[in-house]
Symmetry: C3
Subunit: 203 residues, 3 copies
């Protein structure tokens, strides 16, 4: 279970870091900006989770090999970006991002519950973990957060649904690993449906 | 005293959340944005206070019924907002906001002192608790914080005056409940005077 | 060593606070804005360091005389600013800021290592301590962070180089005080060279 959570975080971190680098490049930032926004996109949600829960040391301090993965990714990403100007709208990146959304929600809820957080704030911490890397990225790019735009397909809503299902299954004594897989699958499928059918909040 | 602090926080939280929702709607955000900005306006100052003081669990995790109150308020607020476009300039909302300012200052100073914070930083933490929900709201709306605008009537200044009086009265061994009421009353009256007579900082 | 770290912090804090006040005035903020941005520029990086490390009480709470120094500086700075409109481009302020950069990097790395942070995240915390006061200042001024602009001479890069040298020297069992002085000197000289020769990141 611990090992699975680790694999989950590495995959999600790289996907979020890469989309952060694209974002920083579009904002016209230099390498310091690209690396900062990549790290904030990848670790921002999890850092906020740990700071809100008082969970020290932060996971990128305890597992600092994660930092090295992002550092290694950055020159590759910059090279790719030189030849693919609008790579961010690609289907493959959307799939990885949707997977990351599910993975981060699950990890946020999991750690919150382990620290004896009641279920409603635990669900919120799951959503924050999954989405606030992107919000912090937009703030550092001096933009209105994409997360709040009525023109965007459902994102936080998918994470919240995934968090609710994860918590419910754990309460109903499902196997934790099974609940985790269902949480990730539900969030992923909801997000992909939202993109495919352009589902948005009606209000 | 504990019970009074609780009532104080609920009232203030709902007033701040409502003004946050109005703000988010004006920024053109969807329900995710409205709810996030409402929660940040209501809990942002208190969360910053708890994070700065290392006071865990955060009060919206310990008292997660507060989250439910804001969730319940949100559909009512959205309904009201549909029929009252510029409700935020209404006298009634200003009165509640001014009361909230006093209430949050008192709660911030109280918790800071309980955690053995020296008086000057405790006064600052009181002001941060009362005002930084609004600053975080403006940052999430990608606007210059209203708190720093020279065209706005005194706001942080009223909170700072209230905080100083609260601390002084506690040091002079006044009854804590009495000091609390005076702190709220002073902050409230200063703020109302500032709005009525359009008092601003001269520099 | 402790005393030296203290002197380091006071000097750096006043330099950063002053440059924050200039920035806030340029943004057209009132005294509440000027004081907040001064405090955020001076204590923001260190506060982020302490919050990320879980190092409580924050140093501006433990050493609250630092707050008084900034409060005392503010009327002097406002008076000076009235007669020197673009004081921020002055050579003297750049020198103090470059010194502050080295000082904050060293203090960040030092405290991170003392809290058993591995070396890579410790170097990052050093850079965050030195540079994120400025990033938070820019966010509160609703601007794109200067730190990420490709038109600006090297800044975070100098701090990172200083941090790496500091950590290497400590690992090679150099005298801590000597390592500290070298860290500050290297960061300072790199930054001054970057300004003089307009060195920027090539990507």
């Amino acid at each position: 279970m611990e090992a699975l959570l680790s694999v989950i975080e590495i995959t999600a971190i790289l996907a979020f870091a890469y989309s952060g680098m694209i974002h920083a490049r579009k904002s016209g930032y230099d390498y310091v900006g690209v690396l900062t926004i990549a790290l904030v996109s990848a670790f921002g949600g999890g850092t906020l989770r740990d700071v809100l829960l008082g969970n020290h040391p932060l996971y990128w301090i305890a597992h600092w090999e994660f930092l090295i993965y992002v550092l290694l990714l950055s020159p590759i990403a910059l090279f790719l970006l030189r030849f693919n100007k609008d790579f961010s709208s690609r289907r493959s990146l959307m799939l990885i991002d949707a997977l990351g959304l599910g993975l981060f929600t699950a990890s946020g809820v999991g750690i919150a519950l382990k620290m004896r957080t009641p279920i409603l704030p635990a669900a919120f911490i799951g959503v924050i973990t999954a989405t606030f890397g992107g919000v912090l990225r937009d703030i550092l790019s001096n933009q209105k957060p994409q997360l709040f735009q009525p023109t965007e397909p459902l994102y936080a809503t998918c994470a919240f649904a995934g968090a609710c299902i994860y918590i419910s299954m754990l309460r109903l004594d499902f196997l934790p690993t099974f609940a985790l897989v269902v949480c990730i699958a539900v969030t992923f499928l909801l997000r992909i449906s939202a993109i495919t059918f352009n589902l948005r909040l009606p209000f």
